[in-house]
Amino acid sequence: MQEAPVSFKLRADRALADPTLKIAIDRTTGTAERKRTVAMTQFPQFEAARERGKRIKDHVIANLDHYLLEFERNAIASGAKVHWASTAEEASQIVVALCKQANAKRVTRVKSMLGEEIGLPHALDEAGIERVETDLAEHIVQLGGDRPSHIVWPSMHRTREQVSEMFKRAHRVPHQEETIEAMVASARRELRDKFLSADVSISGANFLIADTGATCTVTNEGNAELTTTPPRVHIVTAGIEKLVPSTEHAFLMLRLLVRSATGADVTQYTTFHCGPKQAGDRDGPEEFHIVLVDNGRTRMLADPALKEMLRCLRCGACMNHCVVFRQLGGHVYGGTYPGPMGAVLTPVFDGLEQSRDLAHACTMNGKCQEVCPVAIPIPTLLRGWRDRSWREGLEPAAARFGLGIHTFVASRPRLYRLGTAIAIKVMRLFSRGGLVRGMPGLGAWTKYREFPAPAKRSFMAMYKDSEGKR
């Protein structure tokens, strides 16, 4: 993974100082939130479906070994080749080796967050293989030379005005009119012949269907179908938690996923890939490979504080509804996955020491859990990281010292009352007109807002007096 150049707080402050970024974030997440809200009013069975979806995922995760082997058996029977990768490096090496085996000069890729997680774009570039991103947003990310900032809308951080400039610089026959349609047509002209001339296509999977060995992908642009059909070789990379027992289960999960992600009832395209081209098929790849990736997932499975995260469908609803994400966007998080779900996952991939801020930069308001289509208790999982960070001594000494003192005092009511009385006296010394001003130690608060002066005496002190008179 790309090294985060500066601290989380500095990255956050830079994002906060970028008004264009805020416009871009609000357009995307605001639209997503509104559409989801409408979709939910038309989906009264949401709670029941969510409970069922949660149970299906929990069942699969509890019996992962069984379903993985069933999937492998059926995939092989359909003519697919199945590869197993325990780490990100291993996974991207397998894909690069398959591309080299196929003498691939040019590969087309369909947007896949797992591909990002295993560092595939970088690995392909390193290997000197031309990589064509066919998803419109991923195409924008590739042109900008940056990384996805949202798991559903990877180029969320760009405004359409910025995209127009990028297309004009990079496309062979760029658009003339400043309309979305003209810009899309420009991208289509740029990409279409590359779709058809690629040697290998690489896609991800939203679901792996155990009882058929098929993979399922949802897109809205149709690029997945066009990408994966003409080339001789099609490679699917997928995390091992993507399994569902059957196609029927996949359909229930699709209802939850699509409504939560975009607010639509269904995506424009829902594609099932099952094995390579068969005798009598008019088209399709000659070779069909599936790379099953662990990369920390079995460790999560064994960890009660993380296991529930394996239910995640990657819909992005948690980030669309997160007050912190909506101020910062995705890049500030520093990992493959941003927002609340990313704050849970990133320490798994990058280590807690690198990413301890993520679990703390959260108000614990619980909105992410409320909108999660598989009811992942994200705040609880983030608190799990805070616990671990505390136990492993990663928290600042000042916090440890402060809380130690606090507990000592709060365990002794008389001392606690004395401490409260002194704090009130000090704050009132700094008070003018009902507000505390310029008091050392309150700077982080008063830099941005006023701090009210406390009343003359504490409740407990006044209560003691008033009850004496009662």
């Binding site: 007050v323 308001n365 916090a399 005092v409 365990s411 608060w445 941005y448 807002r449 003359k456 005496r457």
Partner: protein
Amino acid sequence: MTTPQSTSAPPSSPRVGLFVTCLVDAMRPSVGFAALKLLRDAGCRVEVPEAQTCCGQPAFNSGDTADTAVLARRFIETFEGYDYVVGPSGSCVGMTRAHYPEALADDPAWAERARRLGERTYELMSFLVDVMHFTPGDVKLDASFTYHDSCSGLRELGVFAQPRTLLDKVSGLTLKPLEGNDVCCGFGGTFCVKYSSISNAVVTEKTAAIERSGAQLLLGGDLGCLMNMSGKLKRQGSKVRAFHAAEILAGMGKGPAIGEED
């Protein structure tokens, strides 16, 4: 964890331990006295156990489970003898009710005591409405207000309708809806000072929504969130005045608002 509207008759003069909460104790005692008055008006025998201090939420949210457990045990011992425990804060009550069993998970006997006490521990507004079926007496205040639903009360305890039901009985008081009433204000306990610039960006959107509501008063049920929002409003030179809903219900709406000279 929602509190269903109780259909059973209210208990007759229950013994209630008032859980004052640290912020109310140190910053705004009037909220505590308002709670005391409302609970007594509702027919409760209210006591304020002197041994109470802090519920341990700062430690819990910092990941310091050991210190949390120390304070959780103290809290349980202090309040266990009462029929009910009631506090004027969704966040502090959510801590004791929803999170003590988690913090004490390594100690099943204590976790069980936490669960049993949790069943009798309530946020003030929900206790008044759901348990005591209370209607405030003759309270008048000619003002418009908007209401912010603090996250812990809303999502951990199901506090939403109860404060509105009670405030609706105050004559002269009219509700102006708040756009994004259930969106976090950016307080988040220590979050607001640890990540103060992010918190500031969040509360700035919140105060813009409060101003758009056109209300004269901002009411809520959690002093921390109210201090955050009113502190930002004051810095922006806003005329909106903030109170804890209990203060209005107890007829203290004529007194100084949060951040006004007493």
